[in-house]
Symmetry: C2
Subunit: 403 residues, 2 copies
């Protein structure tokens, strides 16, 4: 068994970095706070006897050697970055649960056949640099290194500069660091486990997602002296598209979801009719055909707009992913052995595991979170549930690292 | 006759200050550029023999003395501030047309009975500090001095600090500077004159307006793992209200207008369902009863919202205003004498004249602008039309200043 108290205290210590006033964390990727979090993670891993390396995109690997250097390492991890108004658990839990597995192996004096590695993937959230899961995506060959390095944030800063600035651009090519398996523990971020009074989700895959950038171009004009009939109001057109995003998601329900999370109005003045509105669309569905139908539907909405010019640009398509059956079984067997109420499920959120799975045998373990709430400062998970998920990770890692 | 070339060149010189890349001006009130514009205006007025003073809110008065010091001055003016993406004429024309009248009086060696004053009112646009026409409003007793001094911009800077910073907080109490009449020349900012091939609008009054601040509160949550049914998406609710603003305006057409010009999403992240959206509403109508009905309608929409909490706060109600008949006639008589095709009309935009009219006999003269476009960098007025409006101002000022 792992040490649930130690895991909890590490989570609370990490949550100090980038702490916000309503209990959450705002630790966007490659900021000063991310650097502090990475430094603390490195220190903890080295104290646990690991060797820490990072690749050209700052993906970090903390290695606890195994008995047999010919075996590929079993990796456990997630990400330390958060949303602008994020919680204490999303991502961090998976990284620190991995570290807790290493610490517990040390406590019990267990030597594994394959090495165990704890991983922190760069820019999982995608809140600063779109798309999400960018650097686990490069690791798996889904994106080019160059594409990742040139992503820019709202202020025009690019990923490469920021990575250099915080000192986490390594020399190892991204993707060269071979892994034998990857296991990611995470809070569910949805309501299913809680609703069914279960404490473990054995995650068999993730749903597909499509992300869009939308630019709506109208014409700046005076809000008082311009008659309604002559207007080209980009925000009215945007409001129609936002409403359509909801309708399209509901039309592909109950599994389809659609969200406009980010929106900018220009010139953003009370008495100027907006001439330009830029926003994001995020569509998801476990069925890729449904996701294609949603894509067609939103294009039809954009094409039908008459009062403004709509530019709809799909910047990312991540098809549904199925995890490796051996890894999923290792999670399920460990869960059964530990006697936790559980279910098999598909992830609603995207995860680094969904990208890594394209290259490395992968699976995930979920624990419930209060009210299914995440990407919210009030995000909360019970210490017992976090410990349970970490015990499953521990047992599954032992199974996979033994030959 | 005034000197149209000189007027045009002064307009073009002023347009250098805060010039934007698409031909317009971004010279928000009380910024460094506003200070530079005020300094240049002061220099030009002093060169024309005027004495320049300003009150506690930075409203500027450039005085050309008259023969009879017992008569109240005839004031001509408007504002030098612009929208964030404003044009070269909105406001500036009225100030520099006033200056051109003074210069022409000098050219012709005309001594008037009453003094002539050129006025620059602070924060007409309301783009930085809401509401619009704030300092002409205090001048007329519609707002308290304290209210004006404590208005804050998006960055939390308050009007008083910014006024002090640029050195334009005077000692004279706002409103103490008595005027005998106020005439404001302005581009129409709408399509009416152009459509009818007329070059002068004799403005008999302005329509009413109501401004609102709206806060929509939902709940931040994950865009991928939160089912559509459990969401409290503040942006979806905001989109419904934005659509309703348009519908309400159309329901009170063709004269009613409604606009959402400014909107902020929080936390504004692609994969977080927005928990908070803040935006403005601007409703206008020449009939105050219709404006009240629009107010009731938007409250009903806000009250009906079920998926989010809506806080609707009316921050400003400016009823329709009727200008002084003697001043309107002075404008109309001058227009007829000069032989310009013209019409009587009501202003769609708000103007300092609409505030000053509550205290001082007031009227306005409009000239056409291309495509009725204003609050847009492409705003354009023909030099001949600007000269025509200035000639009307000149003749009307002569009439009113002669006793
Ligand atoms: N797990 C998680 O919050 N990932 C962020 C990427 C996404 O699913 O939008
Ligand atoms: N004339 C003008 O653009 N005024 C700005 C105030 C308003 O009408 O919104």
């Amino acid at each position: 068994r792992i040490n649930g108290d130690r895991l909890w205290h590490s989570l609370m210590d990490m949550a100090q970095i980038g702490a916000l006033s309503n209990g959450g964390c705002g630790r966007l990727t490659l900021t000063d706070d991310d650097q502090i979090a990475r430094d603390l993670f490195t220190q903890w891993c080295e104290e646990a006897g690991c060797t820490v390396t990072f690749d050209r995109l700052g993906n970090m690997f903390a290695r606890r050697p195994g008995r047999n250097p010919d075996l590929l390492p079993i990796a456990l991890g997630s990400h330390l970055d958060t949303q602008p108004h994020g919680g204490k658990f999303d991502g961090v839990y998976g990284v620190l649960a991995g570290l807790e597995v290493v610490r517990s192996l040390n406590d019990h004096g267990i030597e594994t056949d394959a090495a165990i590695e704890v991983v922190n993937w760069t820019n999982e959230e995608g809140a600063r640099f779109a798309p999400a899961m960018l650097c686990s995506g490069v690791y798996s060959g889904l994106f080019d290194l160059e594409f990742a390095l040139t992503r820019v944030d709202k202020d025009g800063l690019c990923l490469k500069e920021e990575l250099d600035r915080i000192g986490y651009a390594g020399k190892e090519p991204c993707g060269a660091h071979d892994l034998g398996a990857f296991l990611e523990a995470h809070i569910e971020q949805g309501p299913v486990l809680e609703r069914h009074d279960e404490i473990i989700g054995v995650v068999a895959g993730g749903q597909g997602q499509r992300w869009y950038d939308v630019v709506v171009l109208g014409c700046d004009a005076h809000s008082g002296s311009t008659p309604m009939s002559g207007r080209r109001d980009a925000l009215i057109a945007a409001a129609r598209i936002i409403a359509a995003v909801q309708t399209i998601a509901l039309d592909h329900g109950p599994e389809g979801v659609g969200t406009v999370g980010e929106l900018h109005v220009c010139p953003n003045s009370r008495n100027t009719i907006p001439g330009e509105v830029r926003f994001s669309i995020d569509f998801r569905h476990p069925d890729d055909n449904a996701l294609s139908a949603m894509d067609e539907a939103i294009h039809a909405v954009a094409d039908a707009e008459r009062d403004a010019e709509v530019q709809l640009d799909m910047i990312w398509h991540n098809p549904p992913v199925h995890f490796d059956s051996r890894c999923v079984e290792a999670i399920e067997t460990a869960t059964r052995a530990l006697g936790y109420p559980h279910r098999r499920m598909i992830s609603g959120a995207g995860h680094d595991a969904c990208q890594v799975a394209r290259k490395v045998p992968t699976a995930m373990v979920f624990v419930p979170c209060k009210d299914g709430l995440s990407h919210n400062e009030a995000e909360w998970a019970e210490p017992d549930h976090l410990a349970a998920g970490c015990n499953v990770l521990f047992q599954a890692a032992l199974t996979l690292s033994t030959h």
